[in-house]
């Protein structure tokens, strides 16, 4: 049997009123696992085979009803909910800058929807109502993390790299080999014999 090429680990923190939260984990639409988060802290880890490219991790919160939330004096007193604390893919915990691409699509059916509550919560890792939390990612994960950092840096304009013939090591970050570099390596290998 071929070994899976990826490992995803999700760390949760959970709270309950009547019952613990229940989740289904999907990757690219495929259901991977169902779990009751019946501890204050739990870790869910699973192997998976992924083709290089873009993917979607979904954590579906299901089975909760209005009875799982206790309201006292108009505010939530106790609730069944959970927090997605960290997501680690192939040993690399996703930095905050990437976790903020997540969003939660709430499913308000069967709930007393509090006024002003939206259908979609962006950048939220705390899940109260039923619904699906989504996090897009790409593999190879290492390249994705590095590329996203490059994109973020360009967007925020936080880095100025001078267009020099040969920037000094202090003037470059995350340098990528050019074709000219690759040719030079080839020539050196030929010289070594």
């Amino acid at each position: 049997m071929a070994m899976p090429n990826s490992q995803i680990e999700i760390k949760f923190r959970s709270w309950r009123y009547r019952k613990w939260p229940m989740v289904k984990i999907h990757v690219d639409g495929d259901l991977i696992e169902e779990k009751i988060l019946d501890q204050d802290e739990s870790i869910l880890s699973f192997p998976i085979d992924l083709i290089d490219g873009e993917h979607l991790l979904e954590i579906e919160h299901f089975g909760k009803s209005s009875r799982d939330t206790k309201i006292k004096d108009g505010v939530i007193d106790r609730d069944t909910k959970f927090l997605i604390d960290t997501v680690t893919i192939n040993g690399l915990q996703l930095p905050f800058s990437l976790m903020r691409y997540c969003k939660f699509k709430a499913d308000w059916q069967g709930f007393d929807r509090p006024p002003g509550m939206p259908d979609v919560f962006k950048q939220s890792c705390v899940i109260g109502p039923n619904g699906t939390w989504e996090l897009p990612f790409a593999t190879p994960i290492e390249e994705w993390i590095i590329d996203q950092r490059r994109i973020d840096r360009a967007k925020t304009n936080s880095t100025v790299t001078f267009e020099s013939y040969e920037p000094s090591p202090h003037s470059t970050i995350d340098y990528k080999l050019s074709d000219q570099d690759k040719n030079l390596i080839k020539e050196i290998k030929e010289l070594i014999g």
Partner: protein, 489 residues
Amino acid sequence: MIDVAIVSLPRLDLTRPAIAPAILSSLADKVNLKSKIFDFALATYDRSTKQEWQQYELLWQIDLNYELEETLKQKLDSLFEEFVDELIEHNPSQIAISVFSHNSLVATELFLQKLRLKTQAKIIIGGQGIQSKYNSKTFAEDLHDRGMIDFYLSGEAETTFAKVLNGETTGPGINNFGWKQLDNLDETPLPNYKDYDLDRYHHLTSGKSLWINASRGCVRRCDFCDIGRLWKKFRFRSGHSLYKEIKTHMIDHKIKSFNFADALINGSLKAFTDMNREILKGIEKHEISRPLYGGHFIVRPSHQMTEIHYKEAAMAGMDLISVGIETGSDELRFRMNKKFTNDDLEHHLEMCYRYGVKNLFLMFSGHPTETLDDHRKTLEMFKRFRKYAVYGTISGLECGSAAIIHDTPLAHWAVENKLNYDPNAIHGDNRLWYNPNNPTLTVKERVRRQLELYETAIENNWPINHVSANLRYMKALLKRAKSQVPQYF
């Protein structure tokens, strides 16, 4: 018309203006002489094509003994004629040339050959490069004996330059190497950057920046390094004096980035901490915004450099540091006298990751005592710390090959252990050597290992910096070894 022309020449890092000319300018101000800085290192870059500049970069590296093609030679000649004419136009009565390192010798010689013919001005040289071995003397003595210069100033300019400008002709460090090191660095003047157009420099990743000098000397004696030869004592400035300089430059030049020119910014952990706390106080008082700073940093054992040191440093602006890792082998690193392990390095990286400090790793392959097992450990290190490369905590790796620099502990060891190399030759970063006690470590094998380090680093998502220049150098070195010293090849 000016009184003093202050000149810097290739090969220099063009990220930001050199500090030495700015200090000389300040010293000239103190004796009421009008000075002007000519940065011909930057001008060489600005007035060359990419291909020309890359060839010149090989020429400056004195150990390569690189020959330019005739047309390029003529072009460079004309360029330096232009520089001399530009300078002469200002009719200075004194000309000071800063010789930054042994890789400034070729340009200095070329410049002086043209300058001497066209001026009667007093010519003064100084800088660390003047002590380089040249025609069996020092470069300074050789130029002086040939009448190319009038004065050479050894050691710190603060103790000699103003005196020579005022007409003194003798004293410690004036036409001799008997200079005395300053004990109180707080007495050094504020560098004067008024002649520089900062926009023309190649910038730190975080924007326009200036050098700053917090200490001289080093608390380590790494076997390959010549700092210990140049600076016998480790002396550092007070946190308060550094803060004052940072604040002045931030206001005067509207910049926020600094790079320390020191051998080590945390050589004195006490002074480093004091400086950070002074900066933090300044930020709290709204005197300055948070600066960004970098410099050479030594990894210390975790009990010495604790989390609070990293936290305060990061809050005070420590942003991108250069760290001499050298190798992934603890044993070899201790043989180099570096005094830290890969476990210490892991603590350092974890702290930097936690507080958002980027690291440029400085390494080299093929130390004369490096075994294949040492090399293998370096390859393993790339895997072990891969996550920090992915997260950007390791934002760059510069990896060269081992050089034996004149009068370093390694050079003395090489003579004692009968390595094949010429300790009296003109050389800078001498990479043409052979250790009969480690016979498989030929030039070719060292380059092979260097390439293997590059490839393994790339496989593990490490970004390699400065690789193009290093590759061109490797190619030129291999060609030279093959044709001139095939027994080392």
